[in-house]
């Protein structure tokens, strides 16, 4: 694919780019121009209308939110854009609520009902998740061209079914065979979680298309085990530290003669808060490392990405965001969203082998055929197109 596009680019040079930028490697950084103050007002009005319409407006709110973030994301003189149909999102949300309700009551009535509902969800969910990925990307544009998602249905089942199994299999087995000891072995499925996470990222990043250019992704499963083990180690270390402090505190307490039980309660509360803070920092720490790793191994023909977020700085940012959001009873949330988006974009570098304009013109050279496919795809997107993600 890579060679083919380069050949095409040389046969039909796109725009008249200066000679030096045609051959030189060019590094670009995306810029985000959105501000918390501006987004706060959009968010607040969105939220008010969503509540006032019992959630129906949330579909329109989502389109406006994505448009705000996309159109404020600049790369090489142009911005991203989102053109999704809110009705498709509304349809997806209604479906999601129905499925959520089914899942809520799946284990309440009878084993037959539980099997039927889990089977139905298992058959439908991967297909729907793939539909959601397609919807999001097909409605995202850059420089007048649409993105697309070309992951197949088979890949979707291989990717999402294991994830679904981790969530529902233990519950299903407990319902079907209550009290059987072998049921608890099904919880070992969680050990495979990093592999499933790796598989999910691979499915997402391997099948993106921009115009005719298809993404490539060079991931491995073991890196994800490394990230999860590090996170697990961090949490374990904090847990051990808190237990030790608690034990020492209890001894001191006993020696002091058990003054007021209130002190004990405060001490325990402080330790619980401390370990919760550690968790709050660990998840973004891991998320940042996964983000860097995945993006730095994603490429398009002639274009590579590099993400170098500082995992520690990201964890600190998330911690401050959570604390300020709590203190302001949620009003800080839009500011937090803008800061996170800006932080992630600032860490991303887009590297074009032979000058960005040159490469992107080559990528678009196959666009007419993609537009032809897209017309048929559009109909399918209208029929199956909806968005499950919030």
């Amino acid at each position: 694919m890579h060679e083919l596009l380069e050949e095409q680019g040389e046969l039909h040079p796109g725009v008249e780019a200066p000679a030096e930028s045609r051959s030189a490697v060019e590094s670009l950084r995306p810029i985000f121009t959105g501000t918390g103050a501006e987004y706060f007002r959009i968010w607040l009005v969105n939220l008010t209308l969503t509540v006032a319409t019992l959630g129906i407006y949330s579909a329109w709110a989502k389109v406006r939110r994505l448009q705000y973030f996309d159109r404020n994301t600049h790369l090489a003189g142009a911005v991203l854009d989102f053109r999704g149909n809110p009705l498709a999102i509304l349809r997806g949300r209604l479906l999601a609520i129905v499925m959520l309700a089914m899942y809520q009551y799946a284990f309440g009535f009878s084993p037959q009902m539980a099997i039927a509902i889990v089977t139905a969800l298992g058959l439908a969910l991967p297909f729907l998740m793939r539909g959601a990925l397609r919807f999001r990307l097909q409605n995202t544009q850059y420089r007048g061209l649409r993105f697309d998602f070309n992951g197949g249905a088979g890949g979707a089942y291989l990717t999402f079914l294991p994830v679904l199994l981790v969530f529902v299999l233990p519950g299903l087995l407990v319902t079907l065979f209550p009290g059987e000891p072998f049921v608890f072995w099904s919880f070992l499925l969680y050990l495979l979680w990093p592999a499933f996470h790796a598989r999910l990222k691979s499915y997402q990043h391997r099948h993106v298309q921009f115009g005719a250019a298809r993404s490539q992704y060079a991931g491995s499963v073991w890196a994800f085990y490394r990230f999860y083990l590090t996170a697990f180690g961090l949490i374990l270390a904090v847990g051990v530290a808190c237990t030790l402090i608690g034990a020492v505190g209890a001894i001191v307490f006993k020696v002091a003669g058990g003054a007021n039980p209130l002190f004990g309660a405060i001490g325990i509360a402080a330790l619980v808060a401390l370990s919760y803070l550690a968790m709050l920092m660990t998840f973004p720490y891991m998320a940042a490392r996964v983000h860097n790793w995945v993006w730095s191994r994603t490429s398009f023909p002639g274009v590579t990405f590099h993400s170098d977020m500082s995992a520690r700085a990201f964890a600190r940012l998330q911690l401050v965001n959570v604390l300020l959001t709590l203190v302001t009873i949620g009003l800080y949330r839009p500011f937090a969203a803008v800061r996170i988006h800006r932080f992630k974009l600032a860490a991303l570098t887009v590297v074009a082998d032979t000058g960005f304009e040159q490469v992107i013109a080559a990528a678009a050279a196959g666009a007419p055929s993609a537009a032809g496919d897209g017309a048929a795809g559009d109909g399918a997107a209208d029929f199956f197109g909806f968005d499950l993600s919030w």
Binding site: G14, R41, L44, V45, G55, F109, I360, A364
Partner: protein, 351 residues
Amino acid sequence: MNNAAYFDGHSAALHPVQLEVRDGALRIAGAAIALVYELGKLKLAEPFLHAPAVLYLPDGGRCEVSDPQARADLAAALDYKPSLVMRWQRHWYAALAALVVLLGVGAFVWFYAIPRAAEEIAARIPPSLDAQIGASALRGLEKKAFEPSRLSTQRIAQLEAVLAEVSPAAPRHPLRLLVRNAPALGPNALALPDGTIVITDQMVRGIYEGNEFTAEQMHAALAGVLAHEVGHVQRRHSVRVLARSSLTAAASATLFGDFSAVAAGLPAVLANLHYSRAMETEADTYAIDTLRSKGWSTAPLAELFVWLDSVNDASPQKNMPKWMRQSLPYASSHPASAERIARLQAAASNK
């Protein structure tokens, strides 16, 4: 002077162009580009402060205008009218007024619309479902909390007779009494939606041995406890809780779902605790009405609650500082016992 970037929709190439609005038409001019569009067929995207203005062309092409002055000129030339929502969020005072509206609408939905909708839904749930829910709840309890009763068969027959006395002429479901030993639950009584009423050995012993009641008072206290549970069945509290908790869960997931699972789950739990308290009060009212219609006093039931309180006070909670203990009833699923006791005593005194 080039003031816009033009994209033709077929290639990703950026064409620097100049836009000009003249004679009811937009002219796009650049290197090898000369396009004319009717103004009526153009669509300008919602403007943002620092984002370029985006102009959608009818043939799938687009223009992006970054220069603030050019953006303003374009909007004026196209006679762009921002929607009501955009004008609303443009001003700080209007956006902040949304906060007030939000709180008002939120309160209306939370305190009026959702309970109202839940009642409507509960009224449409078929009674056959009550039996299913009741049976599955009982299976769980039998497995986890219940042991066979250690009371004599005469005592159990006595209890069944009292239930028959307080039963309404036309119960919603046929009522039946189960007596169970439940060390984990302690003195307690519960009503399942299918009309099953469970009373624990511990509660029965509390009535007959724990208090210094006369035979008449024992009878009135027992009748009060059972009438309270009959009230839960008659008012169909379980199905109403189910309908309401499902609705609140769906609503909070829609609103806060993108924040965190904890935030999404919490409001639903808090609301249901409150709902339970309202229901307990409703069941108390039912018990008071039943006792009064038979001409029995509500005072023994009040005394029984005092005793239940003292049993609960023996729990570790008692060591907590006073302010903490007092704030707990607000987070509990039962109304503060003091309130309930006062109500029963008042009912006893103004016969």
